[in-house]
């Protein structure tokens, strides 16, 4: 289903630009555009899949239906890395990736490690302390980001804001290949722990009783989820809501069994971001919107419906 949608989207966008698909290689300018467009579609698909999977996993290990990939500070860490790269004006490239990508990746991985470290050594109730550590680190880094934004020059500022809103831009093929392999590997690794995540959502004691080591499962799941998120964020900036609404939508339709939820979310997440990116680049003609704006505009109302649904559920139980 996800694959069909992504193909469909591609055809629509192609049809808009060309009079028929330019499929022959050579001096065909259509083909050049087609390749660029394809790279974007692939990137959007990868990022969407990574964010959706990461959202599924974090909601499971935090036992919190409102968790998203950024809840544990990955976003602020990546943002800080990116803004440092933008402000310092570093222009070297790294395996075909820009300095912003490399810095954002480093920043997010470092933050995730920091949050895990704080959460692990402060609280008895690991889930709560992990969440608190994430929120605190997030708030602190956001403040630093705001400080840096306030002293940035106008051109740098535009870049920063654009990055923070999240956008799919053309990337070198090498970057795509590396991140594609990494994200796929990460998603497959997460798929293997899916049946353990099912048990983990019932609580640590329950999971143990079902023969699953909660701490180990949480570490593995968190590690891989953070890894794929860090890659996605460093490629595309902070694209919000994909990691929240896709897992929820899929859970409503397919149920909470992670062995089904994770792969379906990956497909739908990828497809959703491909569509959102297509809208972002076509809706205003030449002027390209950051894709984060589209996902948030679609995601915002969805999130409200979700909140309404959950408050109703709480009242049922009472």
């Amino acid at each position: 289903m996800g694959v069909c949608t992504s193909v469909g989207t591609q055809k629509i966008s192609l049809a808009k630009v060309f009079n028929g698909p330019g499929d022959m290689p050579g001096s065909n300018i259509d083909y050049e555009i087609f390749v660029i467009r394809l790279r974007r579609v692939v990137l959007a698909g990868l990022v969407g899949a990574a964010l959706a999977c990461s959202g599924v996993v974090l909601q499971a290990i935090l036992r919190n239906p409102l968790a998203d990939p950024y809840i544990l500070g990955i976003s602020s860490g990546a943002g800080l890395g990116a803004i440092v790269a933008i402000l310092s004006g570093i222009s070297w490239t790294f395996w075909g990736g820009s300095a912003i990508t490399a810095f954002a990746f480093t920043g997010s991985v470092a933050t995730v490690w920091l949050v895990w470290f704080i959460g692990h050594f402060t609280g008895k109730s690991q889930v709560t302390s992990l969440l608190l550590a994430g929120v605190v680190v997030n708030a602190f880094f956001s403040a630093v980001i705001m400080f840096l934004t306030s002293i940035a020059k106008s051109e740098q500022l535009r870049w920063t804001v654009y990055w923070l809103m999240g956008s799919i831009t053309d990337k070198e093929p090498l970057v795509l290949w590396i991140s594609g392999v990494c994200i796929t590997a990460g998603v497959v690794a997460l798929f293997v722990v899916c049946y353990k995540l099912n048990a983990l959502t019932l609580g640590d004691e329950q999971a143990r009783g079902l023969g699953i080591d909660p701490a180990k499962t949480r570490l593995v799941a968190f590690g891989f989820a953070a890894f794929v998120t860090a890659i996605a964020v460093s490629l595309s900036g902070l694209i919000g809501f994909v990691g929240l609404i896709i897992p929820h939508g899929v859970r409503l339709v397919f149920g909470p069994d992670h062995r089904q939820l994770l792969p379906v979310s990956a497909l739908i997440g990828g497809a959703f971001l491909v569509i959102a990116d297509t809208l972002a680049r076509t809706i205003f003609g030449q002027e390209q919107l950051p894709v984060g704006v589209i996902t948030a505009i679609v995601g915002g109302p969805f999130f409200l419906v979700l909140l309404a649904k959950y408050s109703r559920r709480v009242s049922w139980l009472k």
């Binding site: 899916c194 049946y195 959502t201 143990r208 023969g211 049922w316």
Partner: protein, 273 residues
């Protein structure tokens, strides 16, 4: 053959005085043990020790003659299934999905159930009469139905030992008896060793082969329910006087409230008898 063997077990939480002190008991394969005692006596703690969630400070626990420490989490789950106090999961799992989770310690790399696993799950649903709502989300069931589902899960785990923490909590009389009937069937038909923590002395006395009565001061008594449950013993441990009735081998305990309407009259009759 003894299924659970506890020797000189002591346990305390950090910053607290020891509250399980030198506890020893033995449960034979296929026997039904009830653990009773006032709140805070360490009943649930003892259960957590028996399923490996907590480690003893002193003494030893053996499951099928092997020290509990030498089991991996997975292997222990194949020996011991636990039914904890009632709760509703965060996500909307259906009854079948919850019961299927019992097969987790037997699954392969990707964690999908085999045909045999599904058969075991279906049998457990059948036995506990939870099959009719197998596809409903857990949150939509009543407390009694939900408790049956968790017992179904414990049975689907195919483990020789079943531990239950207050399985009849919040249930009405019919469902209380229903749960105990179900446990008895599991004990007799599947030769399960059952250990249930409970507040219900009366049902425990009717259904169990052995009883462990834990007091708050670290004392305990262990033996068959006929010996353990006496009005004196219960008054001593719970600090409540009871009206005790007897029909054949069965004893019934009814607590006497301080402000009962005719407490004086009851006391007098108790004294006369």
């Amino acid at each position: 053959m003894s299924s659970i063997e506890v020797k000189n077990l002591s346990f305390s939480y950090r910053l607290q005085s020891t509250f399980l002190r030198n506890v020893s008991f033995e449960v034979k394969q296929g026997a039904f043990l009830s653990i009773v005692g006032p709140n805070g006596a360490g009943k649930t703690t003892l259960l957590n020790l028996l399923c490996g969630l907590l480690m003893p400070k002193a003494g030893s626990i053996k499951i099928d003659a092997v020290h509990i420490e030498s089991y991996s989490i997975k292997k222990l789950a194949q020996k011991v299934a636990v039914v904890r106090q009632e709760f509703v999961p965060v996500f909307d799992f259906t009854v079948t999905e919850v019961v299927s989770m019992a097969r987790a310690p037997y699954l392969g790399t990707f964690g999908f159930e085999s045909k045999d696993d599904r058969k075991t799950v279906a049998e457990a649903l059948e036995m506990t009469e939870t099959k009719q709502f197998a596809s409903r989300p857990l949150a939509q069931l009543s407390g009694g139905e939900r408790q049956r589902v968790f017992i179904a899960r414990a049975i689907a785990a195919d483990s020789p030992i079943l531990l239950l923490d207050e399985p009849t909590n919040f249930l009405d009389l019919k469902h209380q008896v229903g749960i105990y009937d179900l446990l008895k069937v599991a004990q007799l038909e599947k030769n399960k060793t059952i250990v249930a923590v409970t507040h219900d002395i009366n049902l425990a006395a009717q259904y169990c082969d052995e009883t462990l009565l834990l007091g708050t001061n670290g004392n305990y008594s262990y033996g068959c329910p006929e010996d353990i449950f006496s009005p004196e013993q219960i008054e001593k441990v719970f600090g409540v006087s009871t009206f005790t009735g007897k029909v054949g081998r069965e004893k019934f305990f009814i607590p006497l409230g301080k402000f009962a309407k005719d407490r004086g009259q009851i006391k007098k009759e108790l004294h006369n008898s």
